[in-house]
């Protein structure tokens, strides 16, 4: 039985079910306020979770008026709520296809500074022409190319994080020098899709390399995860991926009894007008039942997607977590102050340091 199961919560709008925003305790009028996100982060931290992820995209979720539309920039949500917590990690989503690696590198470095070492980033590609039309710069390349470009993107982001050695700032009054410029490095990246000179304008972040995550369910994404990521979110058991820490995604609908959970889901499905489907497996039941299942599989960790917020997040933090603690499978207090620390990753050496 694992002594140290890792648990994360995937935050997205009102929850992952399309009718989540109409659930009794949903707060749909607050989705675009800091308080809503701060409350969710506080709840996740209360449950000693390793981190939360925040979904994002560069296009609308839907064109239906009966579903949640609109979302705030995930990196900014994370930056806004991180200073209000002390241990929880934050992994916002960014899109590699249409953004600048230089900007994202310093944004995640800054998230790492404002959270004192609890920042990370999940990278995704955008394959939709409709999103490309928001930028007007290119036709959507072939799928393989998008993933190759994402790998180059992560390489640039990582090199920029290392482009300042940790002791580059010297403040040497005797010689009048603020930095030792021999410890600042041009990254001189030149690839098929872009080139970036460096160094970053932002010094190396507290964790050195904030963890990079990828969601993968197809071979090309597994390869990206193996090449580029510290953490991979998978949607099938026994996913063919080697190297990064594996978190298995599950959508969760909780109830005090299995029947109540089933009824909740049925009500939401009825409102949505269709049975809920997902790329990930769907769990419907009690926190104790989920504890049984998680421990049975012996996985490293899980990223749970609450069907409804805050209901199913609260069921994780106040139901599932105590259940796992009773079984000796989950922490009773935070054992580290950085996200890498919680994940058991050392602070890496700088690739440019002599």
């Amino acid at each position: 039985m694992p002594q140290n199961l890792r648990l994360a919560a995937a935050l997205d709008g009102a929850g992952w079910h399309p009718a989540a925003w109409r659930a009794p305790d949903a707060r749909p009028g607050e989705l675009f306020t800091a308080r809503y996100w701060a409350d969710l982060a506080a709840e996740a931290e209360r449950g000693l979770l390793d981190f939360v992820t925040i979904e994002d995209s560069l296009g609308p979720q839907t064109d239906r008026t009966d579903r949640v539309q609109g979302r705030l920039d995930a990196v900014l949500i994370a930056s806004r709520i991180a200073p209000l917590t002390r241990h929880l990690g934050f992994i916002p989503t960014i899109v590699t296809t249409h953004t600048e690696p230089f900007h994202i590198s310093k944004a995640i470095a800054t998230l790492d500074y404002v959270s004192s070492g609890r920042g990370g980033v999940r990278v995704r590609i955008s394959a939709q022409q409709s999103e490309s039309d928001h930028f007007g710069r290119r036709q959507v390349p072939a799928h393989e190319e998008l993933f190759d470009e994402a790998a180059d993107y992560v390489e640039v982001v990582r090199r920029l994080w290392d482009s300042w050695e940790d002791d580059a700032e010297i403040r040497d009054a005797a010689t009048g020098r603020f930095v030792d410029r021999d410890k600042l490095h041009y990254i001189d990246f030149e690839g098929r899709f872009f080139s970036v000179k460096g160094p970053s304008i932002t010094p190396r972040p507290p964790q050195g390399q904030p963890p990079v995550a990828v969601l993968a369910h197809v071979p090309v994404a597994y390869r990206l995860a193996e090449r580029s990521a510290d953490v991979v979110f998978v949607t099938e058991p026994e996913a063919p991926v080697q190297g990064p820490l594996v978190f298995t995604d599950l959508v969760v609908f909780f109830g005090d009894s299995e029947q109540e959970a089933e009824e909740r889901k049925a009500r939401l499905d009825a409102i949505a007008g269709a049975e809920y489907r997902s790329d990930a497996e769907i769990f419907v039941g009690t926190p104790a039942q989920l504890a049984d299942r998680l421990l049975d599989h012996g996985a490293f960790g899980y990223r749970l997607r609450p069907a409804v917020l805050p209901h199913d997040l609260t069921a994780i933090t106040r139901g599932l977590v105590p259940e796992l603690q009773r079984r000796g499978a989950f922490r009773r207090e935070y054992e580290a102050n950085t996200l890498r620390g919680l994940l058991g990753l050392d602070r890496p050496a700088n690739r440019y340091a002599a």
């Binding site: 989705l31 920039d73 249409h98 928001h134 020098r177 080139s195 932002t202």
Partner: protein, 442 residues
């Protein structure tokens, strides 16, 4: 009621104004420094906090410039984080329109406006240098003469994106099951010489509708651009008369855009040195100027105009007899300052005359030219000067640049602000929640 003063706090920047060698100087990158300055500004009821930006580390003589502070955070991320530790203070920053796209920047500013409950502000700058462009996948494409076109179209496009959601579009009505009022919320379309984009914007209208727009720029084109589009303008002017001329000029341009004189707030950047007495402040100011302009720094400044390696010259000696190298500027990169001296031969002539007249060494000359503080004196003297400049329409207030991070604003907040409040020219409480409320603009 007398005219009310607007005040903003500029986080000390990556140039020689910031004295990193001061024993009180703290980190320029740790979040605690940003929190300190923002909370000081909010305690003093300032209008807003401001961050500058530079997207490539400066170089001189082919190497990274190491005499000044180097390194800064991401503007958006640090402003969002500051929203967590302040309640009322406006949160503004510089975002470049060349190395960004409107869809992404509009998303970020609209998000910041929501996450700060209506306190976001954007200083729009446009650079065209290929040097900075080397850090970007789409860099170095913009000719200098198109920079205002780019900025203008960028702002227009961003405005269209901000307006693509109307105030009542989010219903979030559980009873009726309608989350949004119409299926095509966020729809936009934009085709011009800079942008050819269409689709759906994804951030609902922020509390301020649009973030506050700030601009800098003293040129004819810059003034007109500000009069047409900006809510506040940053300036520099040496004297009260120059300020009054500028003020009358830009305010006079507003009517033709259907705007009131109060719709554009004029805020010069200002530095200050306080002492218990005016004499003490003068002495202190001289010390600070010498900290800001070391011998090495003076030589580097001179190189930026001379466009030559002058490292062999003695900063305590006379100006070089050799003339500036005219032509493409190669010695200093990543600095706006080099553009201020468009005619280096003429600048050299003026400086030689000044140095001869006052018998100044290179360093003393550079101190005269580069390091004059705006306000020097006792708190009372400084408060009177600020009030006088505002009441006589040289400006509407100041954006203050402390020379020590992060505590440099503390004495101003503690000693000068109460005097301005006593005079009835500065708020004692915020009148509303948004930055637009603080600035008194629609």
């Amino acid at each position: 009621m007398p005219k009310q003063i607007h005040l903003a706090a500029h986080f000390p920047g990556v140039n020689n104004t910031t004295v990193w060698s001061d024993p009180e100087a703290g980190s320029h990158i740790e979040f605690s420094s940003f929190v300190h300055l923002a909370q000081t500004a909010e305690r003093a009821k300032f209008d807003f906090f401001f961050l500058a930006e530079g997207l490539r580390l400066r170089e001189q003589g082919g190497r990274i410039y190491d005499l000044d502070v180097v390194g800064r955070p991401d503007t958006f991320a640090v402003l969002a984080a500051l929203a967590a530790v302040t309640d009322r203070l406006g949160l503004t920053g510089t975002i470049n329109s060349t190395f960004n796209e409107p869809y992404e920047v509009a998303r970020q500013f609209a998000s910041l406006d929501h996450l700060s409950a209506g306190r976001a502000g954007w200083n729009v700058v446009t650079s065209w240098d290929a040097f900075t462009g080397e850090n970007f996948r789409r860099g170095g494409y913009l000719p200098e003469d198109q920079r205002y076109v780019r900025a203008k179209r960028f702002l227009e496009t961003a405005a269209e994106l901000f307006d693509s959601w109307r105030a009542g579009d989010v219903l979030a009505d559980k009873e009726s099951g309608r989350f949004v009022a119409r299926a095509d919320v966020g729809a936009f379309e934009r085709h011009d010489e800079q942008f050819d984009i269409h689709g759906r914007f994804t951030v609902p209208r922020g509390p301020q509708g649009r973030p506050v727009i700030l601009q800098a720029g003293d040129s004819e084109e810059g003034r007109e651009f500000a009069a047409a589009t900006a809510d506040a303008i940053f300036t520099r002017h040496g004297t009260k008369e120059a300020g009054q001329q500028f003020y009358a000029d830009v305010k006079g341009r507003l009517a033709k855009y259907g705007r009131e004189r109060s719709d554009l707030v004029v805020l010069p950047a200002a530095t200050f040195v306080l002492g218990d007495t005016d004499a003490e402040a003068q002495e202190l100011a001289d010390v600070v100027r010498h900290q800001q302009v070391s011998g090495q720094t003076a030589i580097r400044f001179l190189e930026q105009v001379w466009n030559r390696d002058l490292s062999a010259y003695d900063p305590d000696g006379p100006l070089p007899e050799v003339d500036p190298l005219v032509g493409e500027h190669t010695i200093a990169k990543g600095r706006a300052q080099t553009r201020m001296y468009r005619d280096p031969l003429d600048t050299a002539k003026q400086w030689r005359a000044l140095a001869a007249e006052k018998n100044l060494s290179i360093r003393e000359l550079m101190i005269q030219i580069q390091a004059r503080q705006t306000f020097i004196g006792s708190p009372r003297t400084v408060a009177e000067s600020i009030d006088d400049l505002v009441q006589s329409d040289a400006c509407d207030g100041f954006i203050l640049v402390p020379h020590v991070t992060p505590g440099g604003l503390d004495p101003f907040a503690d000693k000068v602000v109460p005097l301005l409040q006593e005079r009835g020219v500065f708020r004692t409480e915020y009148s509303g929640p948004t930055l637009r409320d603080h600035l008194g603009i629609p």
